[in-house]
Symmetry: C2
Subunit: 441 residues, 2 copies
């Protein structure tokens, strides 16, 4: 363990760096200071690991003699898991090498330019194989605002400021950005005086989240202390935790959300590493004098000083009638009550074993203002105040063919802006009962 | 799809069958009529697929020229997943071949006897790789009794008889029977007037469950109808959903159990196939006149007639001071309000994709009598009525070094008794804060 915290800011973060990949220079998401990882394919071919640089992706699976041998081997896998398992020293070394070979003063760019592909021509895939997916609830303004809708008398539970509340999500239904999302059918209770009905969700929603990618690994029964946590965190992705509010309201007691969430979760294609994020760390969410101090296993002075993330997020929506998406809300990762290290330390404090490729969702990121609501449930106050779209339409919840697009980026004086690209999905109509009937044997 | 339901009862179930493996004849769990699958190793060697027969395990990975080629290939894998994916026709065919080769009239047992190992000499492993684990709540007497402890005014939620309540569990911490269970440390609230503390759980419990092994597979956005469900179910295992009640009580609102459950889940070593269980199917849990009819997607007349499972279960406990375990409760799978087919149809009704090796926990199986409580929380009424052990000790919840042993079996007039073996675990003391401190970097 080293003593510096957060991760070092070094020459790879130098704002003056320029790349021989010209579209990288001034790119809002993928300048040379970012270097996020993803998995892509060409023309339906095999999946390969790539690094985003400007409008291009660099096929790092094709490079020989550049990286350490174990990195080369890991880069030939169809997912990032093997690379994620290699650990921080390897990630840092690889970042340095990538930075050097992509700088404009590099003497033989022609060696690597054949391995650049326009992002517009590749197909992106899930960047890593997710073992277990846990979704937290760390957005305190979300918890408060949604709590006031579901439980007006008791919006923020007494445990909220003590326990990083989380629950297990569904791994199998996590899809990469761009995958269409089928409106789920399920049990809903439109009239509490009547029995439930089985129907397409009428209150389909998105949830603006970040995903934290775990690099592993504690044995079952062991723990990861908050001081160790950063060594177990690889990177950050955009995450949309699609939610069917009507199914959720009827099913969630007493064991939490189930079918209301497990029909799909969208993941951004690019994993921005914690190394790249080093300049954009901020203090943890400030506690008011009346707020309880975190229990000791969640306390670390360095984490309190710089464990937060200064990431800006936006949500845009494009109805079928519209030619362009319109921004409908924005969010800030600084509104997360718990840091990634606190989430990880909490997750393992009882001995639960974490593995490389496990995914921790932050919970919906909302701010205190109504324009900073991270889902439609909040934005329209449960459908009471419909959203006006420029097309003249209104939205209480998502309609079929609506496309939802998340963006995220970091900006700081003296550093380059780096971003996550986007995480999007179009809503497909539910399979109706007629369609379902024809599917029956 | 064939039209018979439940699965056929055929010559493999004939009560008069005897095996040349003599310990199988009259064996309470593993007569020739059962033939459950597991994964074992010898002396720390590679994992192999085996079939329990009497006191032995038959190494089916070593057999050549007996099964179809795809079955032979699947049997050479270190988990059952590939075999599970092959589907019912293959499973049935393989069962028939296993039954024939193990019968006492088989003419060349010497061909296969070298591949028999005493169960006492092998190490058992998790029989299949679990993708996603879902735990249901289908034990209606459990839901009612526990509900009355957590919510005296509202024991059975209004949704209970409409929705097969379930939640996502943790896959990574599922362990095979015999693995010791470390008492978890976590946030608990011993005094509601005081802040929570971080301490070893004082209310550690078991939960008596069955696990249903999914054979796959629907694409994301598709559904599995209740009529199709049995084609997607491979077998049944014993399952102990260890639970820390004090952690659970403090953390579970509003998103359900998390660390109170994810420190460990124990799985029995033997998967009893639904083919083997064909004679022991029973009607689904009877609905009272006042009970709501299941919604149409959960209704199937054949499932109502024979979708239930007549499995007897017992829980035994052995404190460190005791020389033998003592039975402390019993249960019946007929007390599950929902059938395995209903659980599966519900799970997929919103489009959630299921995969081979997914595990569905039944929820705690309790009966209406106090001696039929499937966990200590119920058995001692939240610790109010301690259990008297023959050693003179009492138990409110589990103590360190306690061993919990589940057993399960089926009996029916005219058929052989078949069983699941046992699912056990010993409680290890929590890592104390002193130990935790030494683990810190």
């Amino acid at each position: 363990m080293t003593n510096f915290y957060p991760l070092p800011i070094n020459e790879t973060h130098d704002v003056t760096l320029q790349s021989w990949v010209e579209t990288a220079n001034g790119h809002p998401d993928f300048p040379i200071q970012n270097l996020p990882y993803g998995v892509f394919s060409l023309d339906g071919g095999a999946r390969r690991i790539g690094v985003a640089i400007g409008d291009h992706v660099l096929d790092v699976s094709a490079l020989e003699g550049v990286f350490a041998r174990e990195v080369e081997e890991a880069f030939r896998q169809p997912t990032l898991n093997a690379f994620i398992r290699l650990g921080r020293a390897c990630w840092q070394d690889t970042r340095m090498k990538l930075s050097e070979m992509l700088r404009d003063d590099f003497d033989s760019p022609f060696e690597y330019s054949p391995h650049l592909y326009p992002q517009s021509e590749v197909q992106m895939h899930l960047p890593f194989r997710i073992g277990d997916y846990t979704d937290f609830y760390a957005g305190i303004h979300h918890a408060t605002r949604v709590g006031s809708l579901f439980r007006p008398d008791n919006p923020l539970m007494p445990n909220y400021k003590h326990v990083p509340i989380g629950y297990h999500g569904r791994s199998s239904s996590i899809v990469v950005s761009g995958t269409s999302i089928r409106r789920p059918v399920g049990q809903i209770l439109p009239d509490p005086q009547q029995p439930p009905i089985f129907a397409p969700s009428r209150r389909l929603d998105y949830e603006l989240e970040l995903g934290f990618v775990v690099s592993g690994g504690n044995a079952l029964g062991d723990t990861i202390s908050i001081e160790e946590a950063r060594e177990h965190l690889f990177g950050v992705v955009l995450l949309n935790d699609w939610s069917a509010r009507d199914i959720q309201a009827w099913e969630y007691q007493p064991l939490g959300p189930f079918l209301s969430k497990n029909f799909a979760t969208s993941l951004g294609p690019w994993v921005v590493t914690f190394e790249a994020l080093a300049p954009y760390r901020t203090p943890a969410y400030p506690r008011a004098a009346a707020d309880p101090a975190p229990l000791e296993y969640l306390q670390d002075e360095r984490d309190r000083m710089l464990g937060g993330l200064d990431i800006h997020l936006t949500v845009s929506l494009q109805a079928q009638s519209m030619t362009d998406p319109v921004q409908i809300s924005e969010g800030q990762a600084t509104d997360l009550y718990w840091t990634p290290a606190q989430l990880l330390a909490h997750h393992s404090c009882g001995g639960c074993n974490l593995n490389a490729g496990d995914l921790l969702g932050s919970g919906t990121i909302s701010g205190p203002e109504q324009t900073q609501a991270g889902c439609l449930l909040e934005l329209t106050m449960g459908g009471r105040d419909p959203l006006q779209l420029p097309s003249g339409e209104t939205r209480r919840f998502l309609e079929d063919q609506d496309e939802v697009v998340f963006s995220g980026w970091c900006e700081k004086e003296g550093f380059a802006r780096i971003g996550f690209g986007s995480c999007s999905g179009v809503i497909l109509p539910a399979k109706t009962s007629e369609t379902l009937a024809t599917l029956k044997p």
